[in-house]
């Protein structure tokens, strides 16, 4: 049986994706940060982000409609959390 991943682990791993894939400084990775306006990602970067998150968490995101509504880093954490909860 898979062990459930904690919220803190999800936050840490998501931040790691942003640091590794986009080289964004750790200090900037605050939950309320808008990933487009504050962190500077664009639609093509979102594709890269999805690929990186899929690899990191072993989940399928690509065709998930909820991706469209993601605005802040907190939205990303919540989205991953909901995906992980759906697994269990």
């Amino acid at each position: 049986m898979k062990q459930a991943i904690t919220e803190n682990e999800i936050i840490a791993m998501t931040n790691q994706v942003f640091e590794e894939s986009f080289e964004i400084e750790t200090e900037k990775l605050q939950p309320k940060m808008n990933i487009f306006e504050d962190l500077g990602l664009d639609s093509l970067d979102i594709v890269d982000l999805i690929v990186a998150l899929q690899q990191k968490f072993g989940v399928k995101i690509r065709n998930d409609e909820r991706v469209r509504y993601i605005r802040t880093l907190e939205d990303v954490y919540r989205f991953i959390l909901s995906l992980k909860n759906e697994e269990h």
């Binding site: 894939s21 306006e37 093509l44």
Partner: protein, 253 residues
């Protein structure tokens, strides 16, 4: 005193737009006929080259001669040994005059534009004929394919990666499409910084105000210098270079 100033501003604008429309009505057909005539003796590639250069000559008069002396343009090239290109020129975007200011660049260029410039009467048609790329009307793969093809042909590309005018001294985040093209095409990137035209004209207006517009063309960043960077990092690196230079230019205003 205020009334005299307003009167001066209005008369300047009336005279500018009158000359602009008159010149456009004459120059556009003349340049078109010239290019069409020479196309009989030239390859399609050379015709396009001269057509794009003709657009620059047309723009040069519009930005440098007609608004003079109330609006002055100062262009400075910081490249010690400018090459023949092609280049990807990356510019900050404050005003609707920015695309016209690009006539200063002495290269055969096409611009990456939004949908609205294509809707301009006459100029929009010429933009399409010249092969300008309407980034919002095509998926990234198609945009990338066309951009790489143009660069391989020797045409340079001008892009305003903020996507829209800031209307002030701030600078928006950059879109990354063109930086992915630069990586793929192994094309050098040239940062171009524009300052002083925030109100020439102000956003949502056609009223030109007197002022000094400075354009600084910075040294090219060669592909070898950025090939190891990811597109996200590259776009932010170029944005920082432009942002720093523009801040200095604004302070010297």
């Amino acid at each position: 005193m205020k009334n005299i100033k307003s009167l001066k501003l209005i008369s300047f604008n009336i005279s500018f737009y009158f000359v602009f429309f008159l010149y456009s009505a004459i120059a556009i057909p003349v340049l078109t006929l010239l290019v069409a005539y020479f196309s009989l003796f030239m390859s399609h590639r050379n015709t396009m080259k001269w057509f794009r250069r003709a657009i620059s000559w047309y723009g040069m008069l519009v930005i440098k001669v007609f608004p003079f002396p109330l609006i002055r343009i100062y262009y400075k090239d910081y490249e010690k040994n400018p090459g023949p290109g092609p280049y990807i020129f990356v510019c900050n975007h404050r005003s609707a005059t920015d695309p016209f200011l690009m006539a200063c660049l002495p290269y055969e260029c096409i611009q990456v534009v939004n949908i609205w410039p294509f809707r301009l009467p006459v100029l929009g048609i010429y933009a399409r004929w010249a092969g300008y790329l309407s980034i919002n009307e095509m998926p990234f793969k198609q945009f990338s394919k066309q951009a790489v093809k143009l660069l391989k042909q020797g045409a340079s590309i001008i892009v305003f990666p903020e996507g829209t005018r800031s209307g002030g001294k701030s600078m928006g985040q950059f879109h990354g499409s063109i930086f992915r093209v630069a990586l793929e095409a192994k094309c050098p990137i040239v940062p171009v910084c524009i300052s002083g035209n925030e109100n020439i004209p102000p956003r949502g207006s056609f009223l030109l105000r007197p002022g000094k517009i400075k354009i600084h063309k910075l040294p090219a960043i060669k592909w070898e210098e950025f090939k190891a960077l990811k597109p996200f990092k590259l776009k932010n690196m170029v944005r920082n270079i432009i942002s720093k230079e523009v801040a200095v230019m604004d302070r010297k205003e």
